[in-house]
Amino acid sequence: MTVGFIMLCHTALDRAAQVARHWAERNCPVVIHVDRRVAARSFAKLQADLQDLDNIRFSGRHACEWGTWGIVSASQEAATLMLRDFPGVRHVYLASGSCLPLRPVQDMVAYLDERPKTDFIESVTTEDVGWTVGGLDFERFTLRFPFSWRKQRSLFDAYVWLQRKVGFRRQVPNGIAPHLGSQWWCLTRQTLSAILEHPERATIDRYFQKVWIPDESYFQTLVRQVSVSVESRSLTLSKFDFQGKPHIFYDDHLQLLRRSDCFVARKIWPQANKIYAAFMSDDRTRQASSEPNPGKIDRLFAKAVERRTKGRPGLYMQSRMPNENWENGRTAGPYSVFCGFADVFENFEIWLSKASGTRVHGHLFAPDRVHYAGGEHVYNGALSDSAALRDYSPKSFLSGLIWNTRGERQCFQFGPNDDQTLNWFISGDGNAQISVISGAWAVPLFHSNRNFSEIRREAARMQKVEQDYLNILRSTYVKARVRIWSLADFVENPMEPLQTIIDEIGPRQGRRLTEAPRMADLSGFGQFLQNLRNQGMQPILMGDFPVGDDPAPKTSRRGRPYLVK
């Protein structure tokens, strides 16, 4: 017993001829259907190319527009011809002109001989398919589709809309339970003849002529009525992308195809000379005949679809520019923003970088230049430290920095003197961890050697800027991890907040902090705030600092403050 191939061809007829010859010479009859829209000259050439083979037939030509009945009637006619002319055929395999056998024909014949009664056809009820593109699954069977989806798209959509609106439904003929599946099948003579000689075929055909994409449902539905044993999978390896169009195989897929152990693959790029040369030759090293295993290829194409639909989080580039909130992650990785810490602690950046093992920058958004870690002038990805370049597009700057340093957590200082453009962007970013000591900007003012009226003006301005920032951080749109302490609360007990933050950053999990950063001297700070009040300014963000009562943990200027006791 042998297997017969039906080939539906419309382009690259020379490749189709090559494959047909391959099968026919190995004693597998082939029936070729050529789309009626193919030029007569090309068709004549194909016939001439194959005329030396007596087990090749050409069936009557139908116009096969995608999604229409033509493809089904072409398959029907070709199948009838196959069953009539080649009595030795037990399985009939429907393939396209751009299909390619990946394993020797003998393998396939042997495989089918072991399963003489099995029909290989993907056939799934409409409720269970997840892959229909365009949202029409059951409606394929209940609406009318007189317009071409490809050429008359607006009419197609409008007519579907109208039918839904009116509530029009076609009657599904009795006994038909719509199933869908890949159009590439392999059926036994018994099953196929039962479908073709179905007593109600005229009625059924008339019904399916108006169904949308009948080639994915006609055989798939009828096989359920007549077959004794349906194995619901296609023997043809065929992957579809997110638009429902088949992925194409090129020369660089050769090894993947070899290792897939599938019988037939589609669709092959016609000029993939290496692939055709490799699989059309006979001297192929025989591999162990195993079950088809397209796992690797599945992964490759699933990844491609994911890249096209979701993209890489945090990447902004020439072909990915997501609208707001469609970013799938505004930035590429987690990072931390520290407000006020560098004012409260001396050498905070050095300490943090030691304690957390991350990259700690200064004020990235400072007005004079970008303060990268280590005072660098150019940073990862050749980012410049020019403030003008950064402020030209702060979003590109920050997302670029985080993208360039993927795998290494970035921390930076922020404050009311910095460029505030990105406040909404950062607070709406789930990757950001924002820790604020509110009012800490007053500490450098307190230590500064400036005229008091000037200090007062500065304090008022910075308080306003920080108040606006805090309002953003307290809004309901925030996705970042936000923690806010007032300066007074923080200096009461600085280690616990620090421990929490470090734990969250945490590559060194489970370890207690052993060394605390040294706090700036705050003796007299309460009086300083009182002086501001006396001058008519109301410092509110620092919390409650009583006059004359200096904060509790008086850090001694000598010796290091250790936590381990």
């Binding site: 890249r307 096209r308 580039m317 020439q318 150019v378």
Partner: protein, 336 residues
């Protein structure tokens, strides 16, 4: 976008096309081999001036990718470029003594040639110092790409300009004829690009790279545009608006995905910064035939005198397209 704005863009497109039609008189045909163009041919369009030393590698590079025919406008070269090109069997050559600037930096001439010869072909518009890199370009010819674009109903393909530069002063390693320029200019900036939308034409405006970093750090708005859409399934109704940065109708500029996904894109490796650059900059400043009164070249000259090395320790050394893909400069999209 309202009907009025759309109508104005339509008028603008008609105007560019009419302008290209008028400018056809400035072109003198020197070698017309356009009869060799078959319906499926892939075409390269280019305009150049005094690029003789670059031409052998340029032609070889694109022939190897599978380009079938070159249509080139020579803007009054005097270094033998014209003679060399007119001898090539797959080159059709025109020459023009007219102003490059007044032909909108060559765009009018090429718009005309594309209108005349590019209709219904895949057309790649590149300068002689731009080298097109696309996903899988090491294993698949350019026809694999255009076939896939056809099958996916994609009409235009973006490729950002990526400035390549050597380590050390530009004139340290002289470029030999026929040499791969990226043996010298091996380095590029991997992640300092700025992306903004252009609402009117619907394209992305990309700036940055070594030129913004060194020459325009204090005036970033003047940094040259790097976004390009060089590969288009051309129709005689289309028109390039300014260089290959953007096209009309504006739908062709929608080469980026707005809903989080990545569309496929390529890169134009830009071999501008070789030892030939100083002489070129000198000449272009004298002629004043470049964009914004050659302000760009003035900035280069000043910049190069102060800081002759574009290289920095974060510069990335070029390996292949996969590296560019991983760095996020280009994307495979759903082509696999």
């Amino acid at each position: 976008m309202g009907i009025w704005a759309r109508y104005r863009l339509r008028l603008a497109r008609k105007r560019w096309r009419f302008r290209a039609f008028r400018k056809r008189r400035e072109l003198v045909s020197l070698a017309n081999r356009t009869r060799a163009i078959r319906p499926e041919s892939i075409l390269v369009f280019s305009t150049l001036r005094n690029e003789r030393i670059r031409l052998p590698f340029f032609l070889k590079y694109y022939r190897d990718l599978g380009v079938n025919h070159f249509l080139i406008v020579d803007n009054d070269s005097d270094d033998g470029s014209r003679e060399y090109l007119s001898e090539q069997p797959d080159v059709s050559l025109w020459t023009s003594r007219h102003s490059y600037k007044r032909a909108r930096f060559g765009a009018d001439w090429l718009n005309w040639l594309q209108m005349r010869h590019g209709h219904d072909h895949w057309c790649l518009v590149v300068d002689p110092d731009e080298f097109f890199v696309y996903p899988f370009c090491d294993t698949r010819p350019i026809r694999a790409l255009t076939d896939w674009l056809d099958a996916s109903n994609i009409k235009s393909f973006p490729a950002m300009l990526l400035d390549m530069y050597p380590k050390g002063p530009l004139d340290a390693q002289p470029y030999r004829e026929g040499q791969d320029p990226f043996e010298i200019a091996q380095y590029f900036d991997s992640g300092n690009y700025i992306f903004q939308r252009n609402a009117r034409f619907g394209n992305l405006w990309v700036q940055g790279g070594p030129r913004a970093r060194t020459f325009f750090a204090e005036a970033p708005e003047k940094a040259p545009a790097l976004n390009k859409i060089p590969l288009v399934r051309w129709s005689r109704d289309y028109a390039y608006v300014s260089s290959t940065h953007m096209l009309l109708p504006r739908g062709l500029n929608q080469v980026f995905d707005e809903w989080g996904g990545e569309k496929a894109s390529g890169i134009l490796l830009h071999a501008k910064f070789l030892d030939t650059f100083a002489a070129k900059a000198e000449e272009e400043m004298r002629r004043g035939q470049h964009y914004a009164a050659s302000a760009e070249y003035k900035a280069y000259k000043a910049g190069l005198e102060a800081q002759p090395d574009l290289w920095c320790k974060w510069s990335e050394k070029y390996i292949n397209w996969r590296q560019l893909e991983i760095l996020g400069l280009m994307s495979k999209g759903n082509w696999a």
